[in-house]
Symmetry: C2
Subunit: 424 residues, 2 copies
């Protein structure tokens, strides 16, 4: 019988893998250029950790199980919780800020569809220990810089503020736990359920009007900010707008195009300040390719409270967005195929391959093909050069180099092989 | 409350992670130089696949669970089975040979100890579709080349042949399934249980003498081969020795130092031909850092039978072996810290940081530290250069560059900042 891979998961073949590694490399290099450094956490965490602080929607879709000693574990559904768990366990005493990045797979048991998989990858950063606006602005700018470096054209950055929403709710007497429920309904766009919950919580008409008014504000910065200031006149939430504006002032130094959307609430319980999402509209329902913002988790996880912000790319969706815009040709092919014209020359061919590998990727033909079939193989695999090892040439200290594109052949000295990669 | 990571797993902090990524890079580059290309499979597979063909010892230590729709899944305990599952699903029709490599985490619920973790990494290659001796020899040579490139000094390559053992057992009338049990006992070094099983299977005294005689052969090539030839005179297993010798002849072209050990049986059920293990003796009980050989899996997994061989590095153990031999200093530090002397210069500092990042990794001080404290921070973090942004210098189109090692400061033009990384 044959076996198939589990539903909702993927196998990555070499060409796709090469494209993914290229995109990963651009992300890593960008993160590192800002002083972020990589960490890695286990694929599974204690269920207790994950369940305690993930949004309801995530907990419902966990892969959880007990290990052989009865411990309840869950495959990580995202990385921020594990990274903050690591921070509290290992890095709390280090000088601030701490700048961490990760590139890892996550797991959610959801109905598979385009852009939604049960195993998916996230690449992200966390900035820990500073709440200055230039820090939060830098985090947003890094996300945009990655996409620009990748050459993605069609994307939109939307910025909101859960800080403003929470402040309004706090002023209306809504407790932390209920705030989470309200933000969750806002995130899901469930307006009717939201209104019912506001009614149940006995929010005053005035507070409700302000909240819903803020949620509806979106568009260009100047207009959104002035309308929000008007709505919040004389209220504590006004200071959140000022903080918000100072972040945007720093952001303006690096990012030209973005929209404000004060209705963004994110799906996770721990967001507390400025939040942002990036959409690649061509992807339709699964258009969100990045999300992040300022959050409060260290205290909730038993550590000392400290300001934090970060983001995660939905790596698979970034790949989909890039591939929808342009063909990505990442060279990962072998450069040279070495073919001995007879079996007696195999030993020489082994040695010649070793020399070529000092400067180029090189395959020795391992099928003992005749020359004609070996050339056909190189052609079908897109290997651009073939080195033919023959008795006569070898006696002169040479081999034959064939350019598969032009069909041109020439003799080259063995002593030149070591640096052949520089010439191909 | 605080949360801890699950027992037997690890968090990797930035410095360790940088060392791991460096070693991974050397492995990748070596595999790719031989024309191997990367693939990736899901973290979990159907339990059926894993349980069907893994050795008994592995099945006992699986992390297995049911997903929300009742599918039985297991976290992969190794990569060869998933890679061959992928090959059968996706690549069977491609021209041979197919050369695949992987770098992935695996999971076994075992008692944690030095060099043994519940989540661990394997890096390996699979050569599919050829059984010529130069192919098998190349696979072994690649493993050695990786370790040499990494600068590991103290390791031993041991080569055996399950092909010879299986041939003897087949000639003695032992069925496939029983062969697996016998090989398993050989692998574990359980001589008493082995003798009991041989007795139970009614192996003749002569066959038993030959088997045990072969198992005891180890050491230098010439001697081992001639003793084996003597023991197997007139038997079908003799042709396995000839195949074995022709692999070694090709290996000799690339690898100088190895021992033969015909008692190597590997822990997995699917090995069928030449096998090898590499030991880093300093690691004690967990000294095996690499294992591989020729195996038969395609047919067992419902595909067309095809010759295959490969190996996997125990990546974590390679790291331990390297770290036991020498200090690994992998530079992953930020190169430049940018510090404005007053808040009013923050905007300029943001822009200057962006310019520096074109050629060097650069952190803007995000804590609004005073100059003295910023310099102390750079010192403690090992950041070698600080760019100080001051009003007077900026008015002249300059900033101050401080070399933290010498304490030397000099003014440099903004126009030079773009390529500053080349000079540091």
């Amino acid at each position: 019988m044959q076996f198939s891979r589990p539903r909702g998961t993927r196998d990555f073949l070499p060409e796709e893998m090469a494209r993914r590694r290229y995109v990963e490399k651009v992300m890593r290099e960008t993160f590192e250029s800002y002083g972020y450094r990589e960490i890695q956490t286990p694929v599974f965490e204690s269920l207790e950790l994950i369940a305690a602080k993930s949004g309801e929607d995530i907990v419902k879709h966990l892969y959880s199980f007990k290990d052989k000693s009865g411990r309840s574990l869950a495959l990580r559904p995202e990385l921020t919780l594990p990274v903050m768990r690591l921070y509290i366990n290992e890095l709390q005493r280090k000088p601030k800020p701490i700048k961490l990045y990760y590139f890892e797979n996550c797991f959610r048991y959801e109905e598979p569809q385009a852009g939604r998989y049960r195993e998916f990858w996230q690449a992200g950063i966390e900035l820990i220990g500073t709440s200055y606006p230039e820090g939060e602005a830098e985090v947003i700018a890094i996300a945009v810089e990655v996409l620009e470096k990748l050459g993605l054209k069609d994307f939109e950055l939307h910025i909101g503020s859960i800080g403003i929403l929470r402040k309004i709710l706090r002023e209306s007497g809504v407790k932390e736990k209920e705030q989470g429920k309200i933000l969750h309904l806002i995130d899901k766009g469930e307006r009717e359920k939201l209104e019912n919950l506001l009614k149940k919580l006995k929010i005053s008409g005035e507070n409700k009007r302000i909240l819903l008014g803020i949620l509806n504000l979106s568009g260009e910065k100047k207009e959104v900010v002035s309308k929000a200031r008007e709505l919040l006149k004389g209220r504590a939430a006004l200071e959140e707008i000022e903080k918000f504006e100072s972040i945007l002032r720093f952001l303006d130094l690096k990012v030209q195009k973005y929209s404000l959307n004060l209705g963004i609430a994110r799906g996770l319980d721990y967001y507390s300040g400025t939040v942002f999402e990036i959409y690649a509209n061509r992807l339709g329902a699964q258009k969100q390719i990045c999300g992040g913002g300022a959050y409060s988790l260290a205290g909730m996880l038993g550590g000392e409270e400290t300001p934090t912000c970060g983001f995660a790319f939905g790596f698979d969706r970034v790949m989909l967005a890039l591939e929808a815009e342009k063909e990505m040709n990442i060279d990962s092919k072998t450069h040279v195929l070495v073919v001995p014209v007879s079996e007696s020359l195999l030993g020489d061919a082994v040695k010649i391959s070793s020399i070529i590998r000092k400067s180029a990727s090189c395959e020795l033909d391992l099928m003992r093909r005749k020359l004609g079939r070996a050339l056909a193989y190189a052609n079908s695999e897109g290997i651009p050069f073939v080195v033919i090892v023959g008795d006569e040439e070898l006696a002169k200290g040479c081999v034959t180099l064939r350019d598969m594109k032009t069909g041109e052949q020439k003799e080259i000295k063995l002593s030149e092989l070591e640096r052949i990669g520089e010439k191909l």
